[in-house]
């Protein structure tokens, strides 16, 4: 009897369990087979999410690692005005609801203070409102009337992290935020034309930002996963994940201190002469690496949208000017290189006309009357007629070939945005006087960077290098993944000719030279002044000039090439805005600072150095 009872109970239990299993199985069939599509659609919509992880843009640093451009997170604070109302509606206890409301009101007053907004504006944002939507999109609040709850009311953009921490600590209901990376330029206007900027959409526009965008931008990643009711990611349901790859860091060749020195000098020039524009370029002649490049007018990278359009232009590559006497290095270098003259060969620079290929040509005017001048004196005194005769010795074709070899009429391909070719016509398009005018830097136009590169070729033993701004690319661990060696463009002059020409250019700052008095003892400044008349209404002006001084130092062991170009400097009446008056002092002042900063050693030890060798004993 007892055995039968037990058997019945067990049978009953087994049937019960079986029935339960059957129930589960039926439900599973419904869930996984019959309602599968509908449920999947719902789950996909409600829980599945694809989160894009934005890559952090790489930084731009100078040659010593000083930060020039970086990305900083900024927060846009917004409010969902309905969240508070819905939260309060859940509480049936009216006094408690009123207390909560008062607490939130007090917090909002603090929020207004933290955001720097009027309290009324914050209160206005917290007022629940409806906004218009397309009828087909109006599915959220159950009433298809073309109006839906506005759940995103922006309070303020650009809130920094510490401020947001304090806002978050308030625990305001309905407050929401969006974090974005914004490009910041810690040095403000320093090297503005070289670094470039990103516009409001985050697109690189100019400068290194644009040129090296491929390295800087990185690659966004994404995660496919599910979210919970509070829209938080359920990490355990991640199904696919593509890792974000942050951008690489770009190391530029510029040196923030050198850049600052030249920008400081530009500010002085701007304050003193109020020019149309001015450019200063410093580079290493042996590598073509730009150490600093600055223009006036310039702009603050953090406020690029407030800058005048003229200030955004990189004058060093976008403006063309007649080089003036700095162009005489072409005729002098070419004639010496061809062996047609020696530094001692003399020419009659008092002539007003000359017979060339059977025609009598009028020679250009001189600033000062000259007689017989040697080639060395033609360079140091900057004789227009002497330079013309040197070019005529070679003939149009040969001279033109040298002009091209120096890089004129071609882009330097620095790659920072717009770059002009300059203006250089082939000999077949020259008029009869061009062979007499071009050697003095007229009838040709070049960018300041082209002029700088031409002088750099002399400093580098006659080799024309491509100027470059990028030193290397580093990954996030600081490992160098690509470096950029110097790139040779062409051999302009023989090394011996370049060395000889460098010594002749040193004469420019010597007695009788156009920049007499601007030498730095022991450092052999070699350079060339230039004073080009500006073309106003189709005529050469007698009162407006482009003043320049282009040179390098020390002449026998060049370490820095420096170019100072000032367009349309305003000087007191009676004083000419010449290369000597305007550009040479700036060159001298910068050179003095660079010698100390770059620890350039003197070529010839100065006598006063002996004092230090005595350990201070007099």
């Amino acid at each position: 009897m007892s055995k039968g009872f037990a058997s019945n109970r067990l049978t009953l239990l087994a049937v019960g369990i079986f029935a339960c299993f059957m129930g589960v199985a039926v439900r599973l069939v419904f869930l996984h087979v019959i309602d599968r599509d509908q449920l999947l659609r719902f789950v996909d919509k409600a829980r599945r999410q694809i989160t894009v992880e934005h890559a952090r843009r790489g930084t731009i640093v100078d040659t010593h690692g000083n930060l020039l451009a970086t990305s900083r997170s900024e927060i846009t604070v917004a409010v969902d005005p309905w969240a508070l109302e819905e939260y309060l509606a859940l509480d049936a206890n009216l006094p408690r609801r009123a207390r909560k409301q008062a607490e939130e009101l007090a917090k909002r007053a603090q929020l207004a203070a933290l955001l720097g907004l009027p309290a009324a504006a914050v209160e206005q944002a917290f007022q629940p409102a409806l906004r218009s939507v397309k009828l087909e999109n109006d599915k959220h609040d159950g009433k298809p009337d073309g109006r839906t709850k506005d759940r995103w009311v922006k309070l303020r953009e650009g809130v920094d992290e510490p401020t947001y921490d304090r806002i978050e600590a308030l625990g305001i209901r309905g407050l929401t935020h969006e974090r974005i990376y914004r490009r910041v330029y810690p040095a403000g206007s320093l090297a503005a034309h070289l670094i470039g900027y990103l516009n409001k959409e985050g697109t690189s526009v100019t400068g290194a930002e644009h040129r090296f965008d491929l390295y800087l931008k990185g690659q966004d990643g994404w995660i496919e996963s599910e979210k919970d009711g509070a829209r938080r990611e359920l990490a355990q349901f991640r199904s696919r994940e593509v890792a974000v790859q942050d951008g690489n860091d770009v190391v530029l060749t510029i040196d923030a201190v050198v850049q600052h020195i030249i920008e400081d000098e530009l500010k002085t020039i701007a304050a003193k002469y109020n020019p149309h524009f001015a450019t200063i370029i410093a580079s290493d002649p042996m590598t073509g690496a730009i150490l600093g490049l600055a223009n006036y007018p310039s702009f603050d990278l953090n406020n690029f949208n407030k800058a005048a359009p003229e200030a955004l232009k990189n004058a060093a590559t976008e403006y063309v000017i007649e080089p003036g006497s700095t162009f005489k290095i072409v005729a002098a270098g070419a004639a010496l290189n061809e062996g047609l003259v020696t530094p001692a060969t003399s020419f009659d620079c008092g002539l007003t006309t000359i017979t060339y290929k059977g025609r009598e040509l009028k020679l250009p005017k001189e600033d000062h009357p000259f007689g017989q001048l040697t080639v060395a004196e033609i360079v140091s005194h900057s004789s227009n007629r002497g330079a013309a005769q040197l070019a005529m010795l070679m003939g149009e074709e040969k001279y033109y070939e040298y002009v091209r070899r120096y890089g004129f009429g071609q882009r330097t391909e620095l790659g920072l945005g717009v770059e002009e070719f300059g203006l250089l016509e082939p000999p077949k398009r020259w008029d009869g006087l061009t062979i007499t005018r071009m050697p003095m830097g007229h009838a040709v136009a070049a960018t300041p960077l082209q002029i700088h590169c031409a002088m750099s070729a002399i400093a580098d033993g006659g080799t024309l290098l491509r100027p470059h701004l990028i030193k290397e690319i580093r990954d996030n661990d600081g490992k160098v993944i690509r470096s950029f060696p110097p790139e040779k463009r062409t051999q302009v002059l023989k090394p011996s000719t370049a060395a000889l020409l460098a010594q002749l250019l040193h004469g420019v700052v010597g007695p009788g030279g156009t920049a007499d008095g601007f030498d730095i003892p022991g450092f052999e400044i070699a350079g060339k002044t230039g004073t080009a008349q500006k073309i106003i209404d189709g005529k050469y002006s007698n009162s407006r000039y482009v003043a320049s001084f282009v040179g390098f130092f020390p002449a026998s062991r060049p370490e820095v090439v420096l170019t100072v170009i000032v367009d349309d400097a305003q000087l007191p009446a009676g004083k000419m805005a010449s290369g000597r008056n305007v550009a040479a002092p700036a060159f001298h002042h910068i050179a003095e600072q660079l010698i100390q900063y770059l620890e350039i050693q003197p070529v010839t030890p100065a006598a006063r150095g002996l004092l230090a060798m005595q350990g201070g004993v007099r």
Partner: protein
């Protein structure tokens, strides 16, 4: 031979089913526990990722602020505001030293020490005996 009774077979079947249920239940619970652990770990790892990202953001923030404070213009402004009076030397003020200044100064100092005028040797003193002359004597 007598066949086993039918209810005995049912009892065995039920017992086996129960064992199977306990076993599969244990497995199921184990799986749930493992899944729970996986979720916990995934969420903790997610939270850590968030923290790391946050720290990196702070680092970027601080780096940008440091760079802004250290840029030459800012330093010059500080120099003026704090009346420090730092100024770059002019070329005329610079003395260049071509030998090691440490060695030069050491040589100068040694020269001073060893040329100290001591008391004149008395008659009978051994002129070749050594005297210790320290810097303090000077």
């Amino acid at each position: 031979m007598k066949p086993p009774p039918a209810h005995a077979f049912v009892n065995q079947l039920i017992a086996l089913t129960l064992i199977l249920l306990i076993f599969s239940g244990t497995l199921g619970l184990g799986a749930v526990w493992v899944r729970q652990e996986i979720s916990g770990t995934a969420n903790r790892s997610h939270a850590l990722e968030g923290k790391i990202a946050n720290v990196e953001r702070r680092l970027d923030e601080v780096s940008a602020e440091v760079a802004a404070a250290l840029n030459p213009d800012a330093l010059l402004r500080q120099n003026q505001l704090m009346l420090i009076g730092l100024e770059s030397p002019r070329e005329i003020q610079v003395r260049r030293v071509s030998v090691s200044p440490e060695l030069r100064l050491a040589a100068k100092r040694n020269l001073e020490i060893f040329s100290v005028a001591g008391p004149a040797p008395r008659p009978g003193d051994n002129p070749y005996s050594f005297r210790v002359v320290t810097a303090s004597l000077h």
